[in-house]
Amino acid sequence: MSVDQKTIDETVTALALPQRVKDNLLRELKNVKLTKKQFDEIIKRTMATYEYSKIEAGEAAGVVSAQSIGEPGTQMTMRTFHYAGVAEINVTLGLPRLIEIVDARKNPSTPMMTIFLEKDYAFDRDKARELAWKIEATYIGVLGGMSTDITDMKVVVELNKKALHQRNMTAKEVSDRINEELGVSSYITGDSLIMKPEEPSYRQLLQLVKSVHSVILKGIKGIKRVVIRKEESGEYVLYTEGSTLKEVLAIYGVDPTRTRTNNVNEIFEVMGIEAARAALIHEATETLKEQGLNVDVRHIMLVADIMTVDGEVKPIGRHGISGEKASVLARAAFEVTVSHLLDSGIGGDVDELRGVTENVIVGQPIRLGTGNVKLIAKRQVKGV
């Protein structure tokens, strides 16, 4: 009398268990002959184990998470630059990176993107390279040497044909781009590109040289370098120094579902708060993992959640969560004590003494964990 697969599936799916456990259970129960009694026993024990594994009400989950992330900080290295995966690109790692994530910096010190490609591009080295040139910002400097001709008051660029070809550009395109950006007229003679300043003065000439150097001939502004790497799966992946998610996602051939950046705020702006939360979790987990430190995701999730509850990415600290607490005393006890006290006087603020610090300050039990249990005992009714 064995239970058929359908009943197993249905019963398991209906259980009040986390999805992951349900999936595990279904996978393990596939093709296993079970009697009804055995099946019921399995369900019973699983539920009992779940009940046992659940976090208890009243647990100070916040403090535990904060400690679990803060404590390994002492074991992390300080070395800022290191190579993460790609030898060519430097990325901030270790404690400085963790601090950066928690601070929700608008501009991380080493922005970097990992660009995955669509199927048609991902396994073709040439196509991947073509995309890479589309993304990397190309300046005149890489296309050839620049010289100034003072007698004729002109700027001459000796274009390197090989470099042009490599980047799939023509001299005409270069000239057009420069005309468009700077409004000067440039023309091509042989292999060289010639430009003249508006007025034939030495100053103008130097000015022109300077501005020509900053013209982006091809690619996206802010992407300093693109490195192509073949992953173990045989897929080509682009790694960039510099990050502009919005522009890169718009390029045809880029897989927008897998492409990512290490700039959390950029993800927030382009994809929204849920994506930012996921990015925070990913970045923090990777940073800790790279250092060989084992921290449960649940702790990182809690930190990411409190940073993103309000619908924007807020830093941990004075300018973010701690500075926006309801309690005057808690804020005063953290940082910038005096101004918080003065402001509270002006506003006639009321501290409701619900948090931890406030209650420690006034010297009474905190309302958390064992301090949050209100019912002590029922008074005995006499004469019953």
């Binding site: 399995i42 009400a57 400690q67 060519e88 809690l302 005063a332 506003g347 009321v350």
Partner: protein, 974 residues
């Protein structure tokens, strides 16, 4: 019995104190700057008036009658002759001045805007959110309007000069003449002005003509001409002399007349605090609410001080020096200054002193009041003590780490605590702590005398303070404390009644809290059971070192004694060591064997040695194992056991576990049970069938066995296992003996030659790379400069060489070498450490690069300029054993220094990170409905960690957990 719930402070309201209220609160007005008279008694109405409280023993407070220590102190006040500004609110005053009318005091917003903002503020308040942003918007909006829409007054710019000066910039256009009266009554005025300002003497007698449309006035004489041309809108006019533009003027129609002004005449008018105060007084309660103030608790005029509170003496006690001289508190010094200036100000004003002197005194009074409140305002020279030290005034008392908030309120000093050096004792159980007798006799725990412990309590008292375990104090029902001495202990014992408290000395098995700083996680404070021991250090089992991060190189630890039954219960149930074996950080064991524990068990379980009965009993005797398993065999008719069998004795019955141990070589295909390194551990029914116990078996953080015991058995069994394992391992290692010396770093001559060969080859390769670089033949790595490429290549080459030497050395140092045993078993150190000792130290690096700094073009003067070679940039070819050359030694010191700096910087940075994290997250709690919420009851997570599973039991979400359940059920059926 009635259970009384302790009273709680429900809320604290903040606000400003009005001068009126303050005068009512004050116990005395302070008028004299003197403190004590010649007899040393406080002067009445002076700063030390006994009405303000007392600090000298023997005196009584005139207000409450309390003695020093009983009287909390009472505030007095100083009547300021002229109002002054409170520095803390200087910025707010600026904002208000710019946002309100100078004449009628109204907020410069339309009634509609006011209601709109007021509503927004109220909603935010109700939601418990900060109103800062809205209020800033109110100020910004109000500042925009230049005229008051209620009384029509022009609003001048208000300039703010730090710290407390406000200046109105009144742009007064200088009236010149009336257009309509020219030519006519004002012609003279007109010509005089022009002559004075434009050197046009010739117009004196010239004719003045006005054009028909009345827009141009012209004066001409001969070739010279002058004209004033008005624009169509009659607002501006231009002066032209001889056709050239020479000046601009403004025209205004006032009372039907067209008046001409000269523009841009600015006049500065300083606003005195009195002016500001009158203006703030005019604000209506409604307007006050719109700028985010609470009119009942904080009227804006109250931020201008007219009465200065004098803090009670208890807040600023004076100290009597050895010489009998009194030294006053910084606050008292400051108050003396204020009173003096206040008096002088008053005298001068009454005497009718000139305005200039009055203003100077006013400013001086402002300075003293400012520094009394905050002595670190930018732009104000800090008030200094006679010795030159800046005074610590009110703000300084509150601020910072040692300030009132962080230093005294959030962190409090406690009684019933002890601190001393720690030292190891593997014979203690892990939850025990050895406490010196001296400490046990000094510290006490409170016994509440009840019918059930009445006799026991009496007995403790009878033993007195010298007879451990005795008692040190009794507290009678009325709260009087009586010290127990050798002499009175007998009498006191008979007196002990129900309801009294006896402060009993600590004895064995008492629960205490044990802590080592820095307390980075909750396992930094755990509850231990006392074991009173001789000598003066705290003793603990080395297995509990990892959670405290303690070692015995002089570390000190703290002990705290719980004083109530509730505290004791919490300590025992939640904080006991055995409840904390698993770390909530990653759900694995954080308590476990370290160092010699691992080596000991490794040696025991890895050897094939025969252990005879005597030895076996000696090994296991301390673990309270009295019966041995059947022997492995017999030799000379003597039964013997293997090391694995001995270890099996301490395993709990019914433990089944299989895992790869630390010494596993990570072969491509694991042979599992057939492993020839004995690195696949199989424990069945509590018997170690095969495999070696090393770090993966017993070590802290990594132990699979402990993990299993905690999750499938219970903490008591796990705890017992750690106790037994530590005892067994120490005896195991002592049986064999284990040491490491310089001889263990010896490598044979031929190995040394091999190492030298590798080194020479590496040097050649580096030289070749350098040559290729210099000849420009080096192939550049993508995205790197040529020089960077060379650096990377050299680093790679040298580290390869070092690894090769390490392999050679490792080859000659086998498992009979102590360092190899420690490294392989995971007890301490690594093969890299051994390589550095025996073969080659390797490249020294600063910031991950070869050493570059030093002199121009070279690191040291021992090398040629621009030498790119290995030894010129910090490659240490020698081993620690062979000794470093002077240059190598120097480079090694450079590399070593970086490590030290790194640690120093890191501790401060990670400490701050932790503080911020804890502060941001401390109020979060898992609710009964499974959500995580903050104090406002705002939901942070709907289900903790998305699945509600405790990280300590996070294994449940792994597939193995389910498989285990299925297996056990299926097994049961069979």
């Amino acid at each position: 019995m009635l259970i009384a719930t302790p009273k709680r402070i429900k809320e604290i309201k903040f606000g400003l104190i009005s001068p009126k209220e303050f005068r009512k609160m004050s116990v005395t007005r302070v008028i004299t700057a003197d403190t004590y008279d010649d007899d040393g008694f406080p002067i009445e109405m002076g700063l030390m008036d006994t009405k303000l409280g007392v600090i000298d023993p023997g005196l009584r407070c005139k207000t409450c009658g309390g003695r020093a220590g009983e009287c909390p102190g009472h505030f007095g006040h100083i009547e300021l002759v002229a109002p002054v500004i409170h520095v803390g609110f200087a910025k707010l005053i600026r904002k208000i001045l710019r946002a309100t009318c100078r004449k009628c005091g109204a907020l410069l917003l339309s009634p509609d805007q006011k209601t709109k903002y007021l509503e927004q503020i109220k909603t935010l308040r109700n939601m418990g959110q900060l109103t800062e942003d809205i209020i800033n918007e109110v100020f910004k909006e109000a500042r925009k309007s230049k005229t008051c829409q209620y009384c029509g007054e022009q609003q001048p710019e208000v300039k703010f000069e730090k710290p407390t000066t406000y200046i109105e910039i009144i742009e007064e256009n200088k009236f010149l003449f009336n257009w309509d009266e020219i030519p006519g009554k004002e012609s003279n005025k007109f010509t005089e002005f022009l002559i004075k300002n434009y050197e046009v003497d010739w117009i004196k007698n010239a004719d003045i003509e006005k054009s028909g449309d009345g827009l141009t006035i012209k004066i001409s004489a001969g070739k010279k001409s002058l004209s004033l041309i008005m624009n169509g809108g009659k607002t501006d006019l231009v002066l032209k002399i001889n056709g050239e533009k020479s000046g601009d003027f403004i025209a205004r129609t006032e009372d039907g007349k067209l008046n001409i002004y000269k523009e841009g005449h600015e006049e500065e008018h300083k606003l005195m605090p009195t002016d500001i105060r009158t203006r703030l007084e005019k604000m209506t309660d409604e307007d006050v609410e719109v700028i985010g103030m609470d009119p009942h608790n904080a009227r804006p005029e109250w931020i201008i001080l007219t009465v200065l509170p004098v803090p009670p003496v208890t807040m600023r006690p004076s100290i009597t020096l050895e010489s009998g001289q009194r030294s006053e508190d910084d606050l008292t010094h400051k108050l003396v200054d204020i009173i003096r200036i206040n008096q002088r100000f008053q005298e001068n004003r009454e005497a009718g002193a000139p305005q200039l002197i009055i203003e100077d005194l006013w400013e001086l009074l402002q300075y003293h009041v400012t520094t009394f409140i905050d002595n670190a305002v930018s732009g104000v020279p800090p008030a200094r003590h006679r010795s030159g030290r800046p005074l610590k005034t009110l703000s300084q008392r509150l601020k910072g780490k040692e300030g009132r908030f962080r230093g005294s309120l959030s962190g409090k000093r406690v009684n019933f605590s002890a601190r001393t050096v720690i030292s190891p004792d593997p014979n203690l159980r892990i939850f025990e702590v050895g406490v010196p007798l001296e400490i046990a006799k000094e510290l006490t725990t409170t016994m509440f005398v009840t019918p059930r412990n009445h006799d026991e309590a009496k007995e403790y008292v009878r033993r007195g303070p010298e007879n451990h375990p005795g008692a040190n104090y009794i507290v009678r029902a009325d709260g009087r404390r009586v010290k127990i001495t050798d002499k009175n202990c007998g009498e006191l014992a008979d007196l002990v009644e129900l309801g009294w408290k006896v402060e009993r000395q600590l004895k064995d098995a008492d629960i205490i809290l044990f802590n080592r700083q820095p307390s980075l996680h909750r396992m930094s404070i755990m509850a231990h059971e006392i074991k009173v021991l001789p000598n003066k250090t705290f003793r603990l089992n080395p297995a509990v070192c990892p959670p405290y991060n303690a070692d015995f190189d002089g570390d000190e630890m703290n002990m705290h004694v719980p004083q109530t039954e509730e505290a004791l219960a919490e300590a025992k149930i939640l904080m006991h060591v055995q409840e904390n074996i698993l770390s909530p950080r990653f759900g694995g064991p954080i308590i476990g064997g370290i160092h010699d524990h691992i080596t000991g068990l490794f040696l025991l379980t890895n050897s094939k040695e025969k252990i005879f009965k005597n030895e076996a009993l000696e090994l296991l005797g301390k673990s309270e194992i009295r019966e041995l398993y059947p022997p492995a065999g017999e030799e000379n008719k003597q039964p013997y056991w293997t090391g694995k069998q001995i270890f099996s004795h301490i395993l709990p019955k019914g433990l089944d576990v299989k895992f790869k141990s630390e010494i596993c070589l990570q072969c491509d295909t694991c042979k599992l049970e057939e492993c020839e390194n004995d690195s696949y551990v199989v424990i069945k029914e509590g018997i170690l069938e095969m495999g070696t116990i090393d770090e993966k078996g017993i070590g802290a953080f990594k132990s699979v066995i402990l993990d299993k015991l905690m999750k499938e058995f219970n903490p008591v069994i796990a705890c017992k296992f750690i106790d037994d394992a530590t005892k067994l391992s120490i005896r195991g290692i002592m049986r064999r003996g284990f040491s490491f010396g310089i001889d263990d770093e010896y490598i044979p001559i031929d190995a040394q030659t091999q190492i030298n060969d590798v080194m020479d080859q590496a040097k050649d390769k580096v030289d070749k790379l350098i040559k290729a670089y210099e000849d420009g033949e080096l192939e550049q790595l993508p995205g790197r400069t040529l020089a960077e490429t060379l650096e990377m290549e050299i680093m790679k080459e040298l580290s390869k060489a070092r690894d090769a030497t390490g392999d050679i050395a490792g080859h000659h140092l086998g498992m009979d070498n102590s360092a190899v045993i420690m490294a392989k078993s995971g007890a301490r150190g690594s093969m890299l450490n051994l390589t550095q000792m025996a073969a080659c130290v390797g490249q020294q690096a600063v910031r991950g690069e070869r050493i570059k700094r030093g002199y121009a073009g070279r690191t040291l003067s021992h090398f040629e300029r621009n030498d790119l070679g290995a030894e010129a940039h910090g490659f240490v070819r020698a081993s620690y054993k062979s000794g470093l050359s002077p240059t190598e030694y120097f480079f090694h010191a450079i590399g070593g220094r970086e490590g030290l700096v790194d640690t120093a910087v890191r501790t401060s940075q990670s400490g701050y990170l932790q503080r911020r994290l804890v502060n941001a997250l401390q109020d979060l709690e898992v609710q009964y409905d499974g959500t995580v919420r903050d104090t406002r009851k705002m939901i942070i997570q709907f289900k903790y960690g998305e699945d509600g599973i405790n990280p300590m039991n996070s294994d449940f979400s792994k597939p193995e957990a389910v498989r285990r359940i299925i297996d056990s059920v299926m097994g049961v059926k069979e």
